[in-house]
Symmetry: D2
Subunit: 168 residues, 4 copies
DNA sequence: TTTT
DNA sequence: TTTT
């Protein structure tokens, strides 16, 4: 019996429209980035703003909802878990890492062209009863050569290549 | 005025003793890894366990407490925020990323050689009123030659070697 | 479409063994109390401890698990939502209120006669996709007269009578 | 050393303008109610909406900010802890209970006549380092005759009358 | 790349 | 009524 808690709560704004795809197995996956900002006083006492960018991954029905209702700039509340993937970079032969937030609950906030708010959660995708979730990441940057098909075709270790070797 | 929430809640076990250091400014920083496990049913319906490793960074008084009381294997509850750092790898010329959890509350759980439990939080390090936090270990790899040391080279079942240029 | 978040995270110790019952509909419900303690400095600067008692309600499969594994004194992690019930007190004719935590995730911590830890969540009982949960509360105090049957037989407004008209 | 976690996360709308007062000690306290709504499927499979009302208490600088910026209807994100007070009702001689959320972080969301959003937290009022917080409005009902005033007599869809001796 |  |  496993034990552990791995939960993330975010409120921020989408940095891009969600990219929604079907993976070969038929599962729907959505990817987008989310910016969370916070303020703090620096050593000289002046307020500073710090923005953190998160890579969001959403599966199943909730992915479809994100694709339908979320747009760049939209403010949302998200819950999920942290997941770090690693792969061997073909070019340099180095091991690379990327950390995603696998989202299992989403709620639209505020205005921003939104038709009001809405709350969505997944039934049965939380900790302790999660269907196997194939690893996925957006391919938007895998332009050039080896298009690596369209998806996470290699299980937990995702081979990533070319140009851009990580985040957004 | 910034707006946003970036919160993480973890319960897991330390993969290594905390490494506590003073940075030039005099600030204390502690680093350790934490494993969170959860169970899920795979597509064939059999239970699977999945372990996620998190890089934890703690500042100030709480870092000292972690250094004093936490040991490899200890079960803890942590709260913090996600923070992704990036740097240019001197060797390959590539941009690299690492995601840390900057912890601002810690609570010891269960036994494990512990003197019982205890709850510790930082006074004034939460969102919205955070003292400027110098980036921890951000440049350690920016030198040409692999400084190697200075980071968590250990932990159960985690092999660390020259190949790896990032996490644990 | 509803919008809102109502989440509670607790780590504490059971003040009593869980009381597990079946309600007429066949649903299983468990009730117990949980103490959460925290320290703070009072105005004179001395540390004080403050204990808060929570009334926990658990439904379905998770209720059965609580009944099986949890005992008075056990340390647990719980997640749930706040729910306040009200009813008219028969004796005084006044409106009464009681606030429960409806738990949808539980994790055993530490020792206390426990066989280690374990993590349990409900599949599909979280916000946004919750099966109708009949209101329930422990009857342990409804000794005397009108035994009020054995359970929440009156929908959302629970009639409560006699002697003790509220919490534990 | 105390151990325990008692945290609440809410997103909802204010049911009333905050009522801000100074208590004799000079501390500022703000009170308001917050509605959180969520949807669920009832036994017949139809979607139902459920609204939960929370009594919010805020102290110090954050109370002043709430008084300045929050208005009835405003959508906010709140964090805090659960606190149940009890007192002896003079009229009936019974023990009464009320559960509040003591808020230590607030963030305005969405529009609603708001000047945008903002994030506010208390520096040093979280678990583990909390200044002694006097109980707010604990005795207001302890007088023989219903003082009535002094408390949230309003809010959307909330009828408040002499019958009620507690919450909103 | 977002937002205030 | 719990726990340290």
């Amino acid at each position: 019996m496993a034990r552990g808690i791995n939960k993330v709560t975010l409120i921020g704004n989408l940095g891009s429209d969600p990219e929604v795809r079907q993976i070969p197995s038929g599962q729907t996956v959505a990817n987008f980035t989310l910016a969370t900002s916070d303020s703090y006083k620096d050593n000289s006492g002046t307020m500073q703003e710090r923005t953190e960018w998160h890579r969001i991954v959403v599966w199943g029905r909730l992915a479809e909802i994100c694709g339908q209702y979320l747009k760049k700039g939209r403010q949302v509340y998200l819950e999920g878990r942290i997941q770090t993937r690693s792969w061997d970079d073909q070019k340099t032969g180095e091991k690379k890492y990327a950390t995603d937030i696998v989202c299992n609950e989403m709620q639209m906030l505020g205005g921003q062209g939104g038709s009001g708010g809405g709350s969505y959660g997944d039934a049965g995708q939380q900790q302790g009863s999660t269907p196997a979730q194939p690893q996925a990441r957006p391919q938007q940057n895998d332009q050039a050569a080896p298009p690596a098909t369209s998806q996470p075709p290699s299980g937990p270790m995702i081979e990533n290549n070319d140009k851009d070797d990580l985040p957004f």
